[in-house]
Amino acid sequence: MAGSTKVILNIPRLTGLKQFMRSLHTDYARLSSFRSSSEVKPLEQYPEVEVLHNPPEWKYVERLLPPRTVPQPVEKSEYPSGWQPQTANGEESGYFVARTKNHMVPVYLNTRFRGQRRLTIVRYIQGDIWALERDLRQVVEQARNGKLCATRVNELSGQIHIHGDYVDLLREHLKSKGF
């Protein structure tokens, strides 16, 4: 049955009917469907365009393309934001805290149990992690007026966890040591 209607519609005399049938199907608009867009018209009905190779405006396009990898910071006389480039290489201290790929000091705050437990986490530690743990604990205990401070060292992943929120303190301390 379907085959026979197809044959009838292919007869040239019935093209008008064919177009009418198609208009039945394309009349209503469906959002997000190919049926809601207009059909391709003959080329003459479109405005003429020109294709410009390497036009002077291309610099505006290049400005809009993001860099592929994180750019390296450039040397500046001062950094008003308080950020500073890494200067220490761990020669004298025996340990090294690497920067993140965004050139930040890797000190983070981890809150658990709806903010009841706060952990300060220092990451990307290489070298003598135990010496760094002693140093950081001393800094924190000084800030706590001599009260003891619990820490945890994960040597395999190069992390130190410190009980309490001492992110700003430790970040500034590490920055002052050049990390």
Binding site: V49, L52, P66, P73, S81, G90, G94, F96, I125
Partner: protein
């Protein structure tokens, strides 16, 4: 620096003395896996730690704020509808002046070019979700005293203090409206260029935003430029700084670069088609 290699090298050297790491001899870290099985009978089978009877056992807790028949606390007092229509309001995610200065210091933003939403999103550290009614960024005044850069920035909302902080350094700030479709394009221009569609026109602001963006005090993009230059002077006198003359600046052209009210990208006009592969621009032929 032999000692710095200690942590990694110790492990790698140890591995040389150990059997080959294979699929068969790997196991997860101790205690890292939680047992999701429920004990039966004598192995914790009685109540499975849920307690005896009631909401605790059946997990059918009362809805939040319900006080078993009392007038609930949250309905007990008359209130002011701060959040009325919150699901339809425009949201402007904040960027602080400190964050902006950090982006500049770490070379994530090029201040020799005008800064707009695309610049901020291309840094890879900010993102915008126009589908969640985020209509662009607002510049907030945290770290305003440490802001030292001379920039030409276009944001969607800025307070008076922020405007003063930018202009004190000889910079230019402008607030501009973008419709959600334009914001979607600006939040990832590269991805959008790859679609191969002509650049659309930017829509004009809705009725309730017209007042903000035509006000020279807000440095609105639809405000009279004469009034803006007057307001710059007024703000300088109010905050007590001398307004740097940007006309004498070497970067005068960059600092005063502005988009048309219907324009989406700097230097690119609506209707153009960008081809990133062939590096071509398709334009209407001039008649």
């Amino acid at each position: 620096m032999a000692h710095l290699r200690e942590s990694t090298d110790k492990a790698l050297k140890l591995l040389r003395t150990l059997p080959r790491v294979q699929i068969g001899n790997l196991r997860p870290n101790p205690n890292s896996k939680q047992n999701d099985k429920r004990g039966r009978a004598q192995h914790g089978g009685d109540k499975h730690g849920a307690g005896n009877k009631g909401s605790g056992q059946r997990q059918n807790f009362m809805r939040l704020g319900y006080e078993t028949g009392n007038q609930p606390f949250y309905l007990r007092f008359p209130y002011e509808p701060y959040y009325k229509g919150h699901h339809m309001r425009r949201e402007y995610p904040p960027i602080s002046m400190l964050q902006l200065q950090v982006l500049i210091d770490t070379n994530r933003i090029d201040i020799s070019q005008p800064i707009d939403i695309a610049t901020l999103c291309n840094s890879g550290l900010m993102s915008l979700k126009p589908a969640e009614l985020q209509y662009g960024f607002q510049l907030t005044d945290d770290g305003l005293d440490n802001f030292k850069a001379k920039i030409n920035i276009e944001v969607q909302h800025a307070s008076e203090a922020v405007i003063a902080a930018v202009e004190r350094n000889g910079g230019v700030i402008r607030t501009a409206y973008y419709d959600p479709r334009s914001l979607h394009i600006l939040s990832n221009p590269k991805k959008w260029f790859e679609k191969g569609l002509p650049i659309p026109q930017r829509m004009l602001p809705p009725q309730d935003a017209v007042e903000y963006y035509t006000d020279a005090k807000n440095r609105g993009y639809l405000a009279n430029p004469e009034e803006i230059s007057k307001e710059r002077l007024v703000l300088a006198q109010k905050y007590g700084y001398e307004l740097p003359r940007i006309e004498d600046d070497a970067n005068y052209k960059m600092l005063t670069a502005a988009k048309d009210a219907r324009q989406l990208f700097h230097g690119l006009e609506p209707g153009w088609l960008i081809n990133l592969v062939d590096k071509t621009i398709v334009k209407l032929k001039a008649t």
